[in-house]
């Protein structure tokens, strides 16, 4: 940042800036409070993909502890994670007592989310029950063609597109994506991690579709679903494409 000679006397040079950013972090869902067992199992996993885990920042999630109010030895856990090459940066979920202990071990306590238990079977009827709540915002509405190379992001809500989305265009939303026309580009719904988001379109010819990070490329979309009105959602660990 350049500062003119006159201003130098009045203002010291800027040493830092504080900004808000949105960063995705891997989450380590802790299910057992047997730290030794966790560590040895984690070691095995890390050996499978050492580069992925080396110096990886992680958030320790306490929502699904088998014993919810278990007293956790956080300093010990942090050391064990360090030995695996992981860098724990904070905790989320769990109880206040656990939060205090975490803070003593110099871990941040991250904002909690209302959440669906990891191994709970989803309801048989595909009714959109929003279990993960993201602050709702008005839907973003686009009524002009989205051309190749353009990127549209609907932050905090749904995206509704009335015109065709060209090949080479990218549309993203924190919520659902509705394309009341042909979808030829890439569509990424629930980009902040909302696995309950859906993609709706009148003519599926997309290059790539993604829900909460789980994606399918054009080649893997069956011929039976191409070129028709469909909805796409995530269930049982895979993307489901259904006729509308």
């Amino acid at each position: 940042m350049s500062v003119g000679p006159r201003e130098q006397e009045a203002q010291p040079p800027l040493l830092f800036e504080i900004k808000s950013g949105s960063i995705n972090l891997p989450i380590l869902k802790l299910l057992s409070d047997d730290l030794e067992a966790v560590a040895s199992s984690l070691h095995q996993k890390v050996e499978q993909a050492p580069d992925f885990f080396r110096n990886a920042p992680v958030v320790i999630d306490l929502h699904d502890l088998a014993v919810p109010d278990a007293e956790l030895d956080f300093p010990r856990l942090v050391n064990l994670l360090h030995e695996c090459g992981l860098v724990p940066v904070g905790v989320r979920g769990g109880m206040e007592s656990q939060h205090h202990a975490a803070q003593v071990a110099a871990l941040a306590v991250l904002a909690d989310i209302k959440h669906e238990p990891a191994h709970h079977a989803p309801p048989p009827k595909p009714v959109a029950r929003p279990a993960v709540r993201i602050e709702p915002a008005a839907a973003k509405l686009i009524d002009h063609p989205i051309r190749s190379g353009q990127r549209i992001y609907a932050a905090g809500g749904d995206l509704v597109v009335l015109s065709p989305v060209s090949a080479g265009a990218e549309i993203m939303a924190d919520g659902n994506i509705h394309v009341y026309n042909s979808l030829r580009g890439r569509a990424l719904a629930g980009v902040q991690g909302n696995l309950n988001s859906r993609i709706f379109c009148l003519d599926l010819q997309a290059e790539l579709v993604s829900i909460g990070g789980h994606y399918k490329i054009s080649e893997n979309l069956g011929d039976s679903v191409r070129g028709r009105p469909v909805q796409i959602y995530f269930r049982d660990n895979s993307l489901v494409i259904e006729d509308l």
């Binding site: 002009h144 063609p145 989205i146 051309r147 190749s148 190379g149 353009q150 015109s163 065709p164 060209s166 090949a167 080479g168 265009a169 042909s182 030829r184």
Partner: protein, 269 residues
């Protein structure tokens, strides 16, 4: 204020310069004072297509740099007194063009001309973005071929967001589709994209369809804008394009295979 028309495409070799020359000549023949500018610094060819390559003294960059006046650089066409050509520099590179410089030249031209046709270079980098920055109308030249359609689509996105009109929040650039090198026989065989196929992806106002024609090569060889070859299909198609641009309702020709009678087969190629 002159109406500034950019002839652009994204993809190279689809017929931008051929089209710029033809449309500029067409407008001038209809009585409007027209200037056509070559924005392809370093790879100029508008002067060749217009047949004035032996009369180039000063160029666009000279004018921007103040090394010559517009009057010194503009070349009057020998066939039509309403038409003037501003050639590009061949020895410099695209960095010599600046937004302010281009804006100044276009403003000065606007005082004396009704239409200014900007022949854009291929690509989406500086030359192309400067050529379209000040445009009021855009003729997007597209071949009925997948990569040309994709590149035109990309260019449309850029026109919608990076033009002066877009930045100032004014009425957007009016976009026209010009489909060139159209071969009805191949479309019928299913080998080539049809007008409808292209429109499904681009959805633009169709300004015209120029058929694949031997006349285009003959025209560039002789330094004559193809619109002057009145007997040729391409020449006539460009004439229709100019009429349509000026507001006339002209039905689209050359969309279907020509049915050659016996005489046609005997006397034509």
């Amino acid at each position: 204020m002159a109406r500034i028309i950019v002839v652009t495409s994204g993809k190279g070799g689809v017929g931008k310069t051929t089209t710029s020359a033809a449309i500029a000549m067409g407008l001038a023949l209809k009585g409007h004072r027209t200037a056509v500018i070559d924005f392809d610094v370093g790879l100029r060819n508008l002067d060749l297509i217009m047949g004035c390559e032996r009369r180039v003294v000063y160029d666009f960059v000279n004018v921007i740099n103040g090394e010559a006046t517009l009057n010194q650089a503009l070349i009057r066409d020998k066939r039509c007194e309403n038409l003037f050509i501003l050639p590009a520099s061949q020895t410099r590179d695209k960095e010599s063009l600046s937004i302010e410089g281009v804006g100044k030249v276009l403003n000065e031209l606007s005082e004396n001309f009704t239409y200014i046709v900007c022949d854009s270079p291929a690509g989406i980098e500086r030359g192309a973005t400067l050529a379209m920055y000040f445009a009021d109308d855009a003729v997007v030249v597209t071949n009925p071929e997948v990569s040309s359609v994709r590149d035109s689509d990309r260019m449309l996105g850029i026109l919608a967001s990076k033009s002066r009109r877009a930045e100032m929040g004014e009425e957007p650039i009016k976009e026209y589709l010009l489909l060139t090198r159209y071969a009805p026989q191949r479309v019928k065989l299913g080998e080539m994209l049809s007008v409808d196929d292209v429109q499904e992806i681009l959805s633009l106002h169709l300004l015209g369809v120029i058929p694949e024609s031997k006349a285009v090569l003959n025209a560039s060889n002789s330094g004559t804008p193809v619109i002057l070859d009145e007997k040729s299909d391409a020449g006539q198609a460009y004439y229709d394009v100019v009429r349509r641009y000026l507001g006339e309702e002209v039905p689209h020709r050359f969309l279907d295979e020509e049915k050659k009678g016996l005489f046609g087969r005997l006397f034509r190629g």
